[in-house]
């Protein structure tokens, strides 16, 4: 009997935990959720930069093996805040203009950039909301 009670208690806790997880719509700024950067990427970035981050030849630059992504985080944050055009990347030019995405929150920008810096074979350090906030204030 005791066993059954503890089992049902366990089930109750598990399911309530699951329900709780499903009902969270806004990510908590303090907790890093690996999925949220991916979701932002899929919503705002994937159409141009593609699912694997390889971009489109001559049109939209790749996010792989480039110093623009792996290098200076300040420059990268500014690409999101201010957009980018007419810039040669790894010796190739890309015709499409990247619009400013300053409508994203500091947290969303940090999440998506951290996702990009850790995906598609990239291995670079995370970017924090604080980093983004600092750059936005400089505008």
């Amino acid at each position: 009997m005791k066993y059954i009670i503890s089992l049902s208690l366990l089930t109750f806790f598990l399911s309530s935990a699951m329900i709780q997880k499903n009902t969270i719509t806004k990510p908590q700024p303090s907790v890093y959720q690996p999925d949220s950067g991916k979701i932002i990427y899929e919503t705002y970035c994937l159409a141009c930069h593609q699912e694997d981050g390889s971009g489109v030849p001559n049109m939209n630059p790749p996010l792989i093996k480039t110093d623009w992504v792996l290098g200076d985080s300040t420059r990268l944050i500014n690409v999101i805040l201010k957009g980018l055009k007419n810039t040669e990347i790894n010796g190739d030019s890309y015709s499409n203009e990247m619009p400013s995405h300053d409508f994203l929150t500091d947290y969303q920008i940090a999440e998506v950039l951290t996702y990009v810096r850790k995906s598609f074979g990239n291995q670079a350090g995370p970017i924090s909301s604080e980093d983004v906030k600092k750059q936005r204030a400089k505008k």
Binding site: A47, E51, S54, P57, P62, N96, M98, P99, F103
Partner: protein, 425 residues
């Protein structure tokens, strides 16, 4: 008199020998590669690889004597055009020579000149003994505004000494802030004054500015495939439709709708036509032009778009038609005569759905200058796989078309610059 007749006959005989020993030998030696160079064609057709790669190829032209001129998007050893020569007549290039020091898309041979465009000018070279003289360039159009988005200039010549140049709009849909979510469409769209159409120039006058030309047609976002139809005496083009309906209006269009809208439009460019960009886009499911959401559209409303000029054919969205060529040769079966070949370079803006295009289509034409049936796949398999998820996966992407004097056609590829020659056996 007797001597004169003898003299004339000898000359005639010599001339006929001379022309006879050129062409038949070339024809006799043309043989398709066993694997058709990795592409699939209708029965009776074969392909041979002329060159495995000349660089980042764009459009292509073939001279009367069979030399091939390929424009490049990126300099190769300081040169912007590659000349491929086949000296032994087997169809394969034996010689590759750089020509001209500027990159660009457009190239056309006519009026005894070779015309080539950069994104800011059009230059021509006189054809001397069948080859362009690189030392005598003449600038025909100059001082054009340089911009990266839709900045390439495609060319066409008519039979009345006019040169046609495309001026793509440096914009997706003329928003105040290009491609930015929530940014409104500008009314009237100021871009249309100098872009978003085709300008007509004098094909023989030097140093013309854009203002010296004439805005022949307007309301077109971007054209890469452009050709003069000799039989009809009319200009035709393929429009690249707008991007990103779902990124800009997620509440109105889901990813699937955005992947399928708008149409890539096949246009008959009658002088003075207005095809409606940026205010309108074409929806092939509803069969009409629809008001753009940036201008208050809801996916159904037409309003001003009802009066805009219509396409002669509507293709699935985002396939990126990068070359258009009317076939006038005799090598292919009769149904191909005066029909249109179209290179679909292949999409990027259908993600997360699988991409589309990456093939060469054929559209049969009637005597009225309109398509007489649906399009068919002519050449496919360029990408090297059955489906393309990301454009970078494609091994090759068709981008340019040309017809040679014998009626065979050439296709260029933008990835490595592979060149195929298609023959009918």
């Amino acid at each position: 008199m007797k001597n004169l007749i003898l003299f004339v006959s000898i000359i005639a005989l010599l001339t006929s020998f001379k022309s006879a020993d050129k062409n038949p030998i070339k024809k006799a030696k043309l043989k398709a590669d066993a694997d058709n160079g990795g592409i699939t064609l209708p029965k009776g057709f074969g392909a041979l690889v002329v060159s495995e790669g000349v660089g980042k190829a764009r459009h292509i032209a073939v001279s009367e004597k069979g030399d091939i001129y390929v424009r490049l998007a990126k300099l190769k050893d300081g040169k912007g055009t590659i000349i491929l020569k086949d000296n032994n007549g087997d169809g394969k290039a034996d010689e590759s020579i750089g020509f001209g020091s500027f990159v660009g898309t457009g190239i056309v041979i006519g009026n005894n000149y070779l015309y080539a465009s950069s994104d800011s000018s059009v230059v021509r070279y006189p054809m001397v003994k069948g080859s362009p003289d690189e030392s005598k360039p003449e600038t025909i159009v100059t001082g054009l505004e340089l911009y990266s988005e839709h900045g390439t200039k495609s060319l066409a010549l008519d039979d009345k000494n006019h040169l046609y140049v495309t001026f793509g709009a440096p914009s997706n849909v003329c928003q105040e802030k290009n491609r930015m979510k929530g940014s409104k469409g500008m009314t009237p769209c100021p871009i249309l004054e100098w872009h978003g159409g085709v300008w007509q120039f004098d094909a023989n006058k030097k140093n013309q500015k854009q203002a010296d030309g004439f805005r022949y047609v307007t309301g077109i976002r971007n054209i890469v495939g452009l050709d003069w139809n000799k039989q009809q005496g009319e200009l035709y083009a393929m429009q690249h439709g707008r991007d990103q309906l779902t990124t800009l209006f997620p509440e109105m269009y889901n990813a699937e709708q955005s992947a399928e809208l708008p149409s890539e439009e096949f246009l008959l460019l009658k002088k003075g036509s207005d095809f409606g960009w940026p205010y309108c886009y074409h929806d092939r499911f509803q069969g009409k032009k629809i008001l753009s959401p940036e201008y208050g559209g809801d996916g159904k409303k037409q309003e001003i778009c009802e009066g805009k000029d219509k396409p002669i054919m509507a293709f699935p969205a985002h396939w990126a038609p990068n070359a258009l060529m009317f076939y006038t040769g005799d090598m292919f079966p009769a149904k191909y005569k005066n029909g249109a070949f179209i290179c679909f370079h292949g999409s990027w803006n259908r993600a997360p759905l699988k991409q589309g295009g990456y093939f060469v289509a054929f559209v049969p034409f009637g005597k009225d200058g309109k398509p007489s049936g649906d399009y068919e796949v002519f050449a496919e398999g360029f990408s090297g796989g059955t489906e393309v998820k990301n454009p970078n996966d494609a091994k090759a992407r068709p981008v340019g078309l040309a017809q040679s004097a014998d009626g065979s056609i050439y296709i260029t590829d933008s990835v490595k610059g592979k060149v195929w020659r298609i023959i009918h056996q």
